[in-house]
Amino acid sequence: MNTLSLIALTLALPAVLGAQSENRWRSFDVSRQLHDSMPQRIKVQYGAGRVDVRGTDDALLYGMHLRYDELRASPVHRYDAEQRSTLLGLETRGGIGRTSGESESAELRLVLPRRVPLDLELEFGGTEAMLELGGLALQSVRLECGATDATLGFTVPNRSHMRELDVNVGAAGFTALHLANANADLIRVRGGVGVVDLDFSGTWTRDLAVESRVNIGKMTLRVPEDVGVRVEVQRVAAGFDHEGLVKRDDAWYSRNWDTAAHKLRIRAETVFGGIAVEKSTR
């Protein structure tokens, strides 16, 4: 047998072995037709892998695509018509570890209806999450992430008035874009260790209050120039970049605070790291 044949056999071996391991991987799609536009509560639980959530104009209450390792997890899709609530995602099997390589192959893609008022709860573990929630009719959003690299965006305004946007991230890099489009009264961001970047561009329709706490890491708040800003800072061993802000009493104010059409009140806390407030364009 010559060298080329040996190389060919070597190349074939992983394919033969891979055919066996590939059998563990399943793809699963589940959706439900939308028969009315009454408010719904949707909860999504997902361990590790890639996550993509966005809106759809199709007549669906939800549409979920999963790729998962059958040995480690099984799909969850429970709909309660009476409670008008849905639980979606993956349930991991106890006691089985996971390697990062396998997590990279796993994915969840979820589409949600734009015409139905939603209370949305998202719980992710070690994921790479891209959440484009613009154009949905969100009444409340609770996002809980573990070790996550997550981006939350509202490229177009939320169709409903949001009571609260609650974000809780563990060891993560978290970016929120166009937060003014969230149309929320209160945004609460809590972070353990990592970098949090909050961008308040978008269409301002109401004043906004933000409570943010990052224990260890850096938090950057990007605010449009025409929005009045009031910042209360509590820090232990952290820096505060307050360029363009003036101190009055116990808080820092932007110069246009008294004249601005819309106001952003920020209460920021950090233990180790830094807080920066930067001006941006809409």
Partner: protein
Amino acid sequence: MRPHLRALITLLAALLPSALWAQSDSTRELSRVLERLAKGEQIQGLPPADSVAPAGRVIPAGATVHGTVVARGPVDVSGTVEGSVVSLVGDVTIRSGGRVTGDAVAVAGRVVADGRVDGEMRTMSALPTLPQAIAPRADTRSALERTVAAVQVVAGSFGVLLVIAIGVLLFAGQNLAEVVETVERRFSRAFWVGLAAQLLLLPGVVVLCIALALTLIGILLIPFAVVAYAIAVAGLVTLGFLAVAQLIGGALWRGRDSSERRRAFGGLVVGVAIFFALWFVASLLVWAPLAATVVRAAAVAATWAAMTLGLGAAVLSRAGTHRRVASGSRPVELAAWQTPTPITGVVAARRPVAAAKEAR
């Protein structure tokens, strides 16, 4: 035949059996699923079947079918199904005006719905082969099977530790000897240091993370630092445990006529075997849970004591790199840097004599 053509044929020949096997395997699986559904059995991931078709099925407009329809092939619904529709290896098509009151499920196919589906629309690449329930299942193995499994686990662990022991003896024999000497000479202190080290393990990693986080850029290094910390601790514990095992084993197996390396190896094997003997007895008593628990508790206690003692000795001797700590004396090389050495006068008269004692 040209070499590259021969290589290509070899590659294809190697891949063909696995491809054919995978194909025939899924065909057999689907046949089994249909048979079980026809018998009225419940298949995970599928609703219970009321009618099973060996090929595709069409429900024309105006027709109503009661109960769940399962077909091996495409299902075309223009009428009404009062139940669910399942297609194995085919599409489920609900045409405009058609209705399914239950779920529409396609295995290795698609669901195309222009009509109404009251339930869920699901497509899956294959049927689930593992139980969906996450709850732990009861152990249904016989006592003999459980005993054999437990003995295998202990034997496997013993084998792994022996391999590690050989590696340590070959590549870090000096360090191991130093830790053994530290255990021997500073027994009590090593134990208390080991205990303190265990208590400080968690605060240590927290302090490390905070220190890295303070530098901001170091935040990125935290995961690596935690892993490195865990590896270092595991290494110290293993080295220490092996040292204690060698000390005990060496006391029982002296191997008078053997070389020093052989004696060290023999002592290590006997020592590790002594610690594993308790675990082995516990695994043999799996059929008697109370006795097994008592022996296992003794094994845990003995192993913990050895690990604590060994960890303390490894810390005291800095993983066996700090020579002469075992003897309690100050290393010569540490005193040697204190130059210039006073030769005459009052300073010379008061000069510490550690180095001189070492020389003697």
